[in-house]
Amino acid sequence: MNNRIKELRARHNLSQLELAQRVGVRRETIVFLEKSKYNPSLKLAYDISKVFALPIEEVFSFGDED
């Protein structure tokens, strides 16, 4: 699973900690997500998309290897 969290976070001028606080997770989780080392739960994916005011499929996508 790929995501655009880093790019969108920069566009919205949000730090990792701010995003983490907004979606109720630890900063470490955002680090793992940005490095594509973790696939989030549907709820977390939904919450993150909501912060960026975008549909889930525009933030998260499945690559060929998935």
Partner: protein
């Protein structure tokens, strides 16, 4: 808060046991003792690292645990459970070939499990939980 109290109680009990053990043991400086002390120090350091992380999270007003940290713990625990079978099998194998007493072997097994847990926890954190 409830969890922080449990961690504090467990940590205090660990340190107290370590102190009682240290006061009642005559150190001869053999390899087994050095290994045991090193293992305990590693396990103690891990505890301090976790406690430090919790304090940092509390300052940042982050949750102590979230879905990622829970999944890391579950994955590391299940791997430890699986790998511990091999560890105990190895201990059973060497029990006939060494002059070590049973309680020493059991102690080594328990400390070995702690080390296996630390290594799997570290491994899961390094490699991540992709496609889990």
């Amino acid at each position: 808060m409830k969890k922080a109290i449990i961690i504090f109680i467990v940590g205090s009990m660990f340190l107290l046991s370590l102190l009682i053990w240290a006061l009642n043991t005559r150190f001869t400086g053999n390899m087994g003792e050095i290994l045991m002390v090193a293992t305990l120090l590693i396990v103690g350091s891990y505890g301090i690292y976790v406690a430090f992380g919790r304090v940092k999270s509390s300052i940042r007003k982050e949750p102590f645990e979230d879905e990622l940290s829970k999944r890391i713990m579950v994955k590391a625990s299940s791997l430890t459970f699986y790998l511990s079978f091999y560890l105990w099998l190895f201990i059973m194998y060497i029990s006939d070939k060494t002059k070590l007493e049973t309680h020493t072997l059991i102690g080594a097994g328990i400390l070995g499990m702690a080390i296996v847990f630390l290594l799997t926890w570290l491994g899961v954190r390094i490699y991540g939980l992709k496609n889990e």
